[in-house]
Symmetry: C2
Subunit: 215 residues, 2 copies
């Protein structure tokens, strides 16, 4: 009897619903997968629990609410987003400020367009409590500061047409966010742009913008 028990335990470590191991992690992964499959609204605590093989109440040991789970999901997505942008900028420190701005925009767009549901979660703000997501807020402030700095550099070396840096900065962000959003909201089909052309046309739009602000 004691032996049967000791044989059973290790072999059923994954199958047994009791003592999961890292349920918190499993729930975040399930939520990320659900979002990728059906959008942020397809994330449900009960379905995440089902996929993790636990009862409907179990997730509430790890997250106070569905919103708290979404906040953790957002933090995870934000980390991936940031990593992609940092990698893109790492090899471009020697470039001019407008070139760096373009690379920043392209990295932003690439990730947003290849991970539309995860991008939607971190940017829409309806899915979780932004103030509770420390990393998301910090990364965002960092990105804003970086674009401000690059624009100031460009202005200082006489590369810009407009003197209104704040409006230029916001226009630039609105452009990339708008492109990412048009992709999420399936606007490109109405604009006659096929899915495989979206990244290319987005890059061209970014070129039009940067060409426009440049002297």
């Amino acid at each position: 009897m004691a032996m049967a028990k000791s044989v059973k335990k290790p072999s059923r470590a994954a199958a047994s619903p009791y003592h999961h191991g890292d349920l918190r992690r499993a729930l975040i992964d399930a939520a990320l997968a659900l979002a990728a499959e059906g959008g942020p609204s397809a994330v449900s605590v009960r379905e995440a629990a089902r996929r993790a093989g636990v009862s409907p109440g179990a997730p509430f040991r790890h997250f106070d609410s569905r919103e708290a789970l979404m906040t953790a999901v957002a933090e995870e997505a934000q980390q991936r987003f940031r990593a992609e942008i940092e990698a893109a900028l790492a090899g471009a420190v020697a470039e001019g400020p407008l070139r760096q701005l373009k690379l920043l925009g392209m990295a932003y767009l690439r990730w947003a367009m290849r991970n539309p549901a995860h991008f939607e979660i971190i940017s829409t703000g309806r899915w979780f409590d932004h103030d509770a997501a420390v990393e998301v807020s910090r990364d965002n402030a960092d990105a804003i500061a970086l674009s401000e700095q690059l624009l100031a550099q460009a202005a200082a070396s006489g590369q810009l047409r407009s003197v209104d840096l704040k409006a230029t900065q916001i226009a630039g962000r609105a452009l990339v966010y708008g492109l990412a959003r048009m992709n999420i909201d399936r606007h490109f089909l109405r604009w006659g742009v096929q899915p495989e052309q979206v990244e290319r046309i987005a890059e061209q739009a970014l070129d039009v913008f940067i060409g426009g602000i440049a002297r």
Copy 2:
């Protein structure tokens, strides 16, 4: 007894839950109000029914599903959106194409920013079936055609820097959609823009863009 009945009927025409009069209209209005109060996700068939003073099943006599109700709401919102844009352009037929583009953008942004929830419904596409919303699709195609025409006019009279009209057109739409979306998603607070400054800064961003594409 017959008299009591004939007295009762007219005086309770509104209070009596039976034979509503125009339940369809009342449900659309309730849904519009719910959206304005708590965003599109706050629209529920049951709550709309409650506000209209009918039972939970009653709405399904008029709408096949929640999505069908949202489609009707979107059609109504789209009509208001279109009316605002047409009014703004009506007095500008004599203006140059770039000036008309700016007025088009400003009218778009004004309505989007003053009716964020209704704008979100018609533009997000997750809230209803776009193919079932004939008016929304038609209006959108019209707006695309108009901006294309204005840009072509500007190009023909040598007013543009870039030759890539398609990319320019998409960049312009991404800019205004991005600004409207940043407002919905509360990004402007993170950018240090107070609510009462949003429309002004959006206009400045639009000026930067149009100044940028102009020769």
